[in-house]
């Protein structure tokens, strides 16, 4: 089956009884059993609950009821999204065996619409990493070439979706964690506007940056899932929901749409990637869009601002893991302080410890003004910079990542270099605006290249519309090729 418009096609087939939901689910269960050892995408595989959910859907079909568009569609969740009774470990030893007693709002929304959860997928520990290799379960590998990483931190979701071990999945994006793996795996990933989707039940890394978003094989599926998620949630004070349904305007033509580009976005970007993105701009010109140059000199501050602020928040968010109430607890200790210290020393991995230390440092008395406070004011400047850029254009096109997928083990060898690969994605989280990545070409090794489209706050509909038209235009050249070499 062609991946394009996959959810709709599966939905129609289920409704027409071409196959049952149980059969569909079993196909995915079989695929996971066959391919997961090579991809390491799933870390908590739940075939029984998936089949139980599928049988309910089949019963509904048998009763002649109409299915919701997402009903019966097999999918996956990143392992930092709380699921009642199903392990939620954030790829960390410290949450070993933790089974939440409540559902994250995003899962509640999808579950209530009949989504079939196949399991929880791999991720960098607490979403801190760019290769998925900081996970206690090891890396998630790229279906295009398993010697390469799927990316991070939502590497498991991307690997599962690209490898057809799930129709779609939910990831989280704090500094690029949806878009970067989507780019590496040749699929579509959307980081919504901060506040569009509820964070309730999503284990926090950096609360003022974190957003949940869909990862799917195509733009239409991405829009369908996004529309299901973007609801105001009374349990999350920062949540506002979406202004409009993205699906309503998805297929509009984009004549006259102003596509912006900033030269600063191409600094240090690998040639193959730059060329692919430049070709994409051409595609937009051919679609009748207007290309507009915008200036974003403030981008050079983005990385330090991101690492200071996200680590500061993380150092506070991760303080709750003390071994007292849930998860891993150290074995031998003489008092409660030693218990907490040992639990953390043994339970957290190296990258998480590094960021907790960094965050604690920048918030400490005597350093606060020089780091945290300054970074906050620069954050305000970046927000402003994007605001003025969006006075001149509707969408900004840029690379998602300056390169294609890393080889296994490369990310761990040079921490700073790996941090630098977040250069194109972190400004978006700092500004709180939406962005998505979709495939726009391949490098010489056949690894996918991602095009990043950036929108103004709560303008996901415009963003998805622009992405849809690009996908349509490149259906033969890019979209089909992105599926080659993969199941």
């Amino acid at each position: 089956m062609e991946d394009y418009g996959k959810i709709k096609k599966l939905h129609d087939s289920l409704q027409k009884k071409e196959f049952s939901c149980e059969e569909l689910t079993k196909t995915y269960i079989g695929a996971i059993e066959a391919d997961n050892p090579a991809l390491n995408a799933y870390v908590h595989f739940t075939p029984e609950t998936a089949l139980a959910a599928a049988q309910e859907v089949d019963a509904k079909i048998a009763r002649g009821e109409t299915l919701d568009i997402l009903e019966g569609i097999p999918m996956t969740l990143k392992d930092n999204i709380s699921t009642t009774g199903i392990e939620t470990t954030c790829g960390s030893k410290i949450l070993e065996g933790y089974r939440p007693v409540f559902d994250a709002t995003v899962w509640e929304l999808l579950r209530s619409r009949g989504a079939v959860l196949l399991g929880k997928t791999n991720m960098d520990e607490f979403a801190m990493g760019s290769s998925n290799e900081t996970s206690i379960y090891g890396g998630a590998w790229n279906p295009h070439n398993t010697a390469h990483v799927a990316g991070g931190s939502s590497g498991g979701v991307a690997s599962a979706v690209a490898g057809n071990l799930a129709v779609y999945g939910l990831g989280t994006d704090t500094g690029g964690s949806i878009r970067q793996p989507a780019s590496f795996c040749g699929i579509v990933g959307l980081k919504p506007t901060y506040g569009a989707v509820s964070r309730y039940g999503v284990v926090a890394y950096a609360s003022s940056f974190d957003q949940v978003g869909p990862i799917a094989t195509n733009v239409e599926d991405t829009a369908l899932v996004y529309d299901a998620l973007a609801k105001q949630d009374p349990r999350d004070s920062t949540s506002r929901g979406a202004r409009e349904l993205a699906c309503d305007t998805l297929k509009k033509d984009i004549k006259g749409m102003r596509i912006g580009f900033a030269k600063q976005y191409f600094d240090g970007v690998r040639d193959e990637v730059r060329e692919a993105v430049e070709r994409s701009m051409q595609v937009y010109r051919e679609l009748g869009a207007e290309l507009v140059e915008v200036d974003l000199p403030q981008l050079s501050y983005a990385l330090p601002v991101y690492y200071i602020l996200s680590c500061a928040e993380a150092s506070s968010n991760l303080g709750r893991f003390d071994g007292i109430r849930y998860g891993y607890k150290a074995k031998n200790y003489s008092d409660v302080n030693e218990m907490i210290a040992k639990t953390r020393s043994e339970g957290f991995g190296k990258e998480v410890k590094r960021r907790i230390l960094l965050g604690t440092y920048v918030l400490s008395a005597g350093y606060y003004d020089a780091y945290y406070k300054k970074a906050q004011s620069l954050r305000g400047m970046l927000v402003q910079a994007f605001q003025s850029a969006f006075e001149r254009c509707d969408v900004i096109a840029a690379p998602t990542v300056p390169m294609t997928s890393f080889e296994r083990g490369k990310a761990a060898q040079n921490t700073v270099e790996t941090y630098l690969t977040d250069i194109c994605t972190v400004p978006i989280n700092i500004a709180g605006i939406p962005a998505l990545s979709l495939p726009c070409g391949f490098d010489q090794k056949g690894l996918p290249i991602g095009l990043q489209l950036i929108g103004n706050s709560f303008c996901e509909a415009t963003l998805l519309n622009a992405a849809y038209q690009f996908e349509q235009a490149t259906r033969e050249t890019v979209f089909r090729a992105a599926k080659m070499g993969v199941r």
Binding site: S208, A312, S316, I340
Partner: protein, 472 residues
């Protein structure tokens, strides 16, 4: 050298909202351990706080009651520290943008205690040590608190006592807290330093944490004041440190010094949005605020002509004041109502706590109806008193105990007849009185009262009796 005490107070007051500050769990005191908890107040991964608007409203009430300015915009911050009773390893509090600021409370000696700020925050859980193990009870975790911070304006422990009592009374009056120090719903941290009298500079201060009784707090301040003077007089230096007060021997001892002080790494809580309060909202809360005890006291004196002592007694709690005001509404002399409350009704209450709660078996309207009978001359004071006792015993209105004839009064002719009968029936008493035993008149009067079933005007009866006896 003469020294002067310089002291400031940080008072934590638990707000009496029904639910916690960031979730809908009950705030009720006690309960089986960990039964008033949910994933939010126990800080489970992924949960988010949701600010209870009632907490903001109560804190604004507290701010208005202490003459504070209310901030149109304030925010919540995280105070980071690691302790097992704090499940998120940070307390959600307010750091640099508190809800209320620049208030004051005036003392009876004319001095003004400035209030720097009042902010809202969540309480922590409690550690329970049992059989060599330590358990954590999170029932109290997330209970809303306000912290009221004064400037270092206290110059004696008596001033501290008066301030705390006034604060307590005001908070109880407006109904935002029960301020029970023994249950921990009001706790004080005291900063203390000394300086040569007349000096403008502050000395090095120490802090005594978690005082939960006014008596111990004044003792601790007095002890610490003397101790600091002793240190200075002996050429020593005061160390900035946190102290605990040992109730058993009345001394203070060090908990930790400045070097061990926590760095709380405050920063804005990204899970919560700014708190916006409009001037209109503040005005609405101000209008709904009950009259404060001090204002009431003044009014009772000027409007009702009550003695200050009575006014003080009647404003010890909102329940008493409300009862008094309802019962004296429309009566000729509110002092009569005051006497009934301070005399007969208080007498039935075991202690100060009971007086404060002021649970009376009859509604205020029953007392008012009774006093109106006195006003209209239908009954006399002695009958009022005896009837009130019966009412308080039974919870029933006056009409249950007063017959038509009780209320009809005794006319002059009848009264004279009763007196004549009494003189005729008690020759011994008459002769005793004539022999100079004035007490004998009481027996005659008793007889008149009996015959009139208590309706007779005692003074008038006495006058007639004396007249009759002298005539004879």
């Amino acid at each position: 050298m003469k020294y002067e005490l310089v002291s400031g107070l940080e008072t934590h007051v638990e707000l009496s909202t029904k639910t916690k500050i960031f979730c809908s769990c009950s705030t009720e005191f006690g309960g089986e351990p960990n039964t008033h908890c949910c994933p939010v107040c126990v800080g489970f991964p992924g949960t988010l706080p949701k600010l209870n608007q009632k907490v903001v409203e109560y804190a604004i009430m507290a701010g208005l009651a202490t003459n504070c300015e209310i901030s149109n915009i304030s925010k919540m911050d995280r105070k980071n520290y690691c302790y097992p009773d704090l499940p998120k390893a940070y307390q959600i509090s307010q750091f640099d943008m508190p809800l209320c600021k620049n208030g004051h409370i005036d003392l009876s000696n004319g001095r003004r205690i400035r209030i720097n700020r009042i902010h809202i925050e969540e309480d922590a859980g409690k550690l329970v040590h049992q059989g060599g193990n330590t358990y954590v009870d999170y029932n109290r975790g997330g209970v809303p608190l306000i912290e009221i911070v004064t400037e270092p304006d206290f110059r004696s422990s008596d001033e501290v006592r008066e301030y705390v009592e006034k604060l307590q009374l005001a908070m109880k009056f407006i109904g935002v807290s029960d301020c029970k120090m023994q249950e921990g719903s009001m706790r004080c941290d005291v900063n203390i330093s000394v300086r040569p009298a007349g000096s403008e500079e502050y000395g090095t201060r120490t802090e005594i944490k978690n005082m939960n009784s006014i008596t111990f707090m004044t003792k601790a301040i007095d002890y610490e004041y003397t101790r600091q003077i002793d240190v200075l007089e002996n050429g020593g230096k005061i160390t900035q440190e946190t102290l605990r007060y040992n109730e058993s021997d009345g001394t203070t001892s060090s908990m930790r010094n400045k070097e061990d002080a926590d760095d709380y790494r405050y920063f804005r809580d990204p899970d919560l949005v700014n708190i916006h309060v409009t001037d209109e909202e503040v005005d609405a809360i101000r209008r709904a605020l009950p009259e404060l005890p001090e204002v009431k006291r003044e009014r009772y004196i000027s409007q009702f002509g009550l003695p200050e002592a009575d006014a003080l007694q009647l404003t010890k709690s909102r329940a008493i004041a409300e009862f008094f005001e309802a019962a004296s509404d429309g009566v000729a002399n509110p002092k009569t109502v005051a006497n009934c409350i301070i005399g007969q009704i208080f007498r039935r209450m075991e202690n100060d706590d009971a007086k404060e709660k002021f649970e009376v078996s009859i509604p205020a309207s029953y007392l008012k109806d009774l006093v109106l009978l006195l006003d209209s001359g239908k009954i006399r004071m002695n009958l009022l008193k005896s009837t009130l006792d019966k009412m308080l015993d039974s919870g029933k209105p006056a009409t249950e105990f007063l017959s038509e004839s009780d209320l009809s009064g005794v006319d002059t002719g009848d009264l004279k007849k009763f007196c004549e009968d009494a003189v005729a029936a008690n020759p011994n008493a008459v002769s005793d009185y004539r022999a100079g035993k004035e007490k004998a008149l009481k027996a005659l009067l008793g007889s008149v009262m009996k015959a009139s079933r208590g309706r007779a005007d005692a003074l008038e009866a006495e006058r007639i009796l004396i007249e009759l006896i002298s005539k004879g």
